[in-house]
């Protein structure tokens, strides 16, 4: 059993939270306290140097008072009891709250810890550094065109304690990810690179790299030296799970965050219980998915994690919520109220968002494509919830000709299109399901860890 390892200042403050909540409820219709600590470690090892740095910690207390109209918050660094008592008194005393009866919520109590096999908090920094060095050593020098090989390890240790009138919750969420980046130089000095990554809400047990993984990354970088730009046009595509997940994330992820409904920014708001894609399309957000990088036990507003079916057999069912938008829209909550850290507001945010698996094999899908593109790897995406446009950039893709993937490579490749048209074009869904960890912003800020994924998909879209 993995230990909670709650930071001592948080553990000392926790027994007093009930009293602070009571103090807030003396004036505010709803009052909660969140103690949040996010710290971690970054290690970078390459051919020329090494960096071991602390991830800049964010640790503080959020006092929230809500009257159904406005959420009033005070956030302050640290976990000092007298300061927080004083801040709570000050917060509620200077506001004239309107009358409001919060939705009844069940009792929620418990301590939750990410199960890990190799706990990063039990390992020494030396051991972590040595493991990064070993991977870097395996990759460097395998080809004379490699000018640098870089290993990047990120560890994020999150502790949260949440209390309101019906909740006394604590969680430790342990996230890790690691990148292998291979940089190569061509005959005229041109620089190209490829990367691969492993991640999870887990320990070091998920950061294992086979020799084949490493060679695949090197081969990708070398092949990019002769990659072509794709002729813009509409193509039949097969997307790998990472690319499928990014399409999912940018289309029916951001597009169904219900704070966007309130702000009239989401076209999906007009499509509840309407067809938005092929009947093969199922989309889910599930913060409780074991081991996936975007997982947690309860959100930053104290709502317990559970799965949300966003699209069911091509029909849009519901969005994902934070407390405020659920109250304003009078819909049931989902556990998606997330903050970048204590210094930021909670918004409706994704966790692990993915296309559900189907029943096709990859081989069957490839055989159906006479002329098309196999999109291997995504690099970025951006949402457009109101216009329902898709922008996903892929690091590279390969030609499919006569039902076979060829060595002809294109890079980079941008996917664009109108969300319902792209989802309607899906004609086969793979049996596999794989999640990719990453970071997600709301627009250009509010970064939270998430995962996106799905199976291989066969669809049609515009590439450029």
């Amino acid at each position: 059993m993995t230990d909670m390892k709650l930071p001592s200042a948080m553990a000392e403050l926790r027994p007093a939270l009930g009293e602070i909540v009571g103090l807030g409820l003396g004036r505010a219709p709803y009052f909660s306290v969140l103690l949040s600590s996010r710290h971690g470690l970054n290690i970078v090892v390459d051919d020329r140097e090494e960096h071991v740095t602390e991830r800049q910690p964010a640790a503080g207390t959020v006092l929230s008072a809500f009257d159904g109209g406005t959420n009033f918050e005070h956030a302050r660094v640290g976990f000092n009891l007298p300061e927080i008592q004083s801040a709570a008194r000050d917060l509620v005393s200077r506001i004239s709250f309107q009358k409001y009866a919060p939705q009844p919520e069940p009792e929620r109590r418990g301590d939750f810890v990410t199960p890990v096999q190799i706990d990063p908090l039990e390992m020494s920094t030396q051991e972590k550094l040595d493991r990064c060095r070993a991977l870097q050593h395996q990759a460097k020098g395998r080809d004379p065109r490699i000018v640098n090989a870089r290993v990047i390890y990120n560890e994020l240790n999150e502790h949260s304690v949440f209390a309101d009138a019906n909740a006394d919750l604590a969680q430790r969420v342990q996230r890790v990810n690691m990148f292998l980046l291979v940089i190569v130089a061509g005959p005229t000095g041109e620089i190209r690179y490829d990367f691969s990554s492993k991640s999870g809400t887990a320990g070091w047990e998920v950061l294992t790299w086979s020799d084949e993984d490493i060679q695949h990354t090197i081969d990708g970088a070398l092949a990019l030296l002769s990659a072509e730009r794709i002729e813009p046009g509409e193509y039949r595509l097969i997307t790998t799970p990472g690319v499928s997940g990014t399409i999912c994330h940018e289309s029916f992820g951001h597009g169904v965050e219900t704070d966007m409904f309130l702000k009239e920014r989401a076209r999906a708001a007009h499509f509840i219980d309407k067809v938005v894609g092929s009947s093969l399309v199922n989309i889910v957000d599930d913060p409780g998915l074991p081991g996936s990088y975007g997982s947690y036990f309860f959100d930053d507003e104290g709502h317990m994690s559970s799965s949300t079916q966003i699209v069911e057999n091509g029909v849009f069912r519901r969005g994902i919520t934070d407390r405020y938008s659920a109250a304003a829209l009078e819909i049931s909550r989902s556990a998606n109220g997330r903050r970048q850290d204590f210094s930021r507001k909670a918004y409706a945010r994704m966790s692990n968002t993915f296309f559900g698996p189907g029943d096709s094999t990859l081989e069957e899908m490839i055989a159906q494509v006479d002329h098309g593109i196999f999109l291997d790897k995504w690099s970025s995406g951006m949402e457009d919830p109101q216009g329902w446009g898709i922008q996903v950039t892929c690091h590279y893709g390969h030609e499919i000709k006569g039902g076979k993937i060829t060595d002809r490579m294109f890079a980079p490749i941008g996917i664009s299109g109108y969300v319902p048209e792209v989802l309607q074009s899906i004609t086969a869904v793979g049996r596999d399901l794989k999640m990719d960890g990453g970071s997600c912003g709301k627009g250009h800020k509010e970064i939270v860890p998430v995962a996106s994924g799905g199976p291989h998909l066969l669809l049609t879209a515009r590439l450029g």
């Binding site: 956030a75 216009g387 446009g389």
Partner: protein, 440 residues
């Protein structure tokens, strides 16, 4: 008080080859509006102490080396424990030797809005009211969301070589969404701005512009494919040159000494930055941390290097890398400090001449995020105009496809300049031969 205790504790450590400590305090007021009213009001107080230490170490073959480690402390936390942790990590690492910056004269770069310093929460409420009032003038458009943050930041830096300096800065961040509907067509414009001073926002003019874009988006159709002149102005040009919150620009990657040392950047001092023929105006770029009220300006950076205005590229030739002390030592070049803002000299052509028809103007990208190393991009266009035969035809969608450096090799810059937070320079650029892939 705690800073003094940390400094005293660091001075007592004879196992350290050098150290830097920064005390960073921020006060922030935040307000969020939705159509139903004020969604949230927040006040945030944050404070931390950031310690970096160096230790003399050695490589596996016994050569002298240096290791670095860091630790962060919240007020009241155990100082000795944090320094022990940082020193322990520093002892694990063996990098080529580098130094810390020494004392210097720090320029007095203006970074503060006095009204924000005095009362950030009142200022941001007033700014929010101005945004709401400016939007309310237009009956055909609604403000459906707005966020306004005002921050005051104090940094005090002390290092083992004798730097002991402080600086105060302010920042205001605004986001807003305008929405319009005509029949079954809807449109929106999202915009985000960051400045040091409220007076640099020009809110009413910005809102008027964005209202026009929102209404024009109602008429926008997908573009036909296009190969020819593409014009970027103001904010779109700033994003192209300076990047955004999520990404730095290609220029910042390729022009940095750390990228050169890691062999990500193929650029060489004294050599052209282009590997294609330059058909447009010659390129000159400065990295300027001393730009008054620039959002990437400071008096000193995180290492303690003073703000400078550094010419990186002169007439297409690389003359300097932006270099921290560490990478300056590694490459044996002068340290410049953090990159800062991007500055370009005024061009020679009036903006009106650059708007000779026909051309495409891109007003807003979905996200301009070229590959930071290769410069290749294929980015969706959120909104733009095809300008020909005396008309401005709005469009939405399509992808701008190309390569960053190839685009800069064939561009003409306007004689008129503007200040856009992280960019100072020509407000209009005409890229002579760019490609837009239309959806049809």
């Amino acid at each position: 008080m705690m800073l003094n205790k940390i400094v005293e504790a660091l001075k007592k450590r004879d196992d350290l080859a050098g150290w830097t400590v920064r005390h960073v305090q921020t006060r922030e007021a935040q307000v969020y509006a939705v159509p139903q009213g004020i969604e949230s009001q927040r006040s945030v107080e944050n404070e931390k102490y950031l310690i970096d230490v160096l230790r003399s170490t050695s490589t596996a073959d016994g050569a002298p080396a240096v290791g670095s480690g860091d630790a962060s402390l919240l007020p009241g936390e155990d100082i000795d424990h944090a320094i022990d942790q940082a020193a322990l990590v520093a002892g694990l690492v063996a990098n080529p030797i580098y130094s810390l910056p020494g004392p210097a004269v720090f320029p007095d770069v203006p970074l503060c809005d006095m009204s924000l310093q005095k009362d950030a929460s009142t200022v941001i409420r007033e700014v929010m009211e101005r945004v709401q009032a400016a939007a309310a003038k237009h009956s055909s458009v609604r403000l459906t969301a707005a966020e306004c943050f005002g921050e005051v930041r104090n940094t005090h830096l002390v290092n083992s070589r004798g730097i002991d300096a402080g600086q105060e800065s302010t920042q205001i961040d605004i986001e807003f969404v305008l929405h319009s509907r005509r029949g079954d067509r809807e449109s929106e414009t999202f915009d985000a701005m960051t400045r040091r001073r409220v007076s640099d926002l020009d809110l009413e003019a910005v809102l008027d512009d964005r209202v026009r874009y929102t209404l024009d988006t109602l008429e926008a159709e997908p573009p036909a494919s296009w190969q020819g002149p593409v014009v970027l102005r103001n904010d779109a040009l700033t994003i192209f040159l300076a990047g955004d919150n999520l990404n730095g620009s290609v220029m910042q990657t390729l022009g940095s000494a750390s990228s050169k040392y890691a062999k990500f950047s193929p650029w060489e001092l004294g050599k052209p930055v282009f590997n294609v023929e330059v058909k447009g105006d010659p390129l000159t770029i400065r990295a300027n941390r001393a730009l008054p009220f620039g959002t990437a300006s400071d008096c000193f950076d995180a290492e303690g290097l003073p703000a400078r205005r550094v010419e990186l590229i002169r007439e297409n030739e690389l003359v300097a890398f932006a270099a921290s002390q560490r990478y300056a030592d590694y490459l044996n070049i002068p340290p410049t400090g953090a990159f800062g803002n991007i500055e370009l000299p005024a061009g020679k052509t009036p903006a009106s001449t650059l708007l000779a028809e026909p051309y495409v103007e891109i007003v807003q990208f979905s996200w301009f995020n070229p590959d930071p190393i290769t410069g290749d991009f294929a980015t969706e266009i959120r909104f733009g105009y095809l300008v020909e035969n005396g008309t401005r035809k709005p469009f939405k969608g399509g992808q701008l496809v190309g390569n960053y450096m190839e685009a800069l090799a064939d561009v003409r810059w306007s004689a008129e300049t503007g200040f856009f937070g992280s960019y100072l320079g020509p407000h209009t650029a005409r890229f002579n031969a760019m490609k837009i892939a239309g959806p049809e």
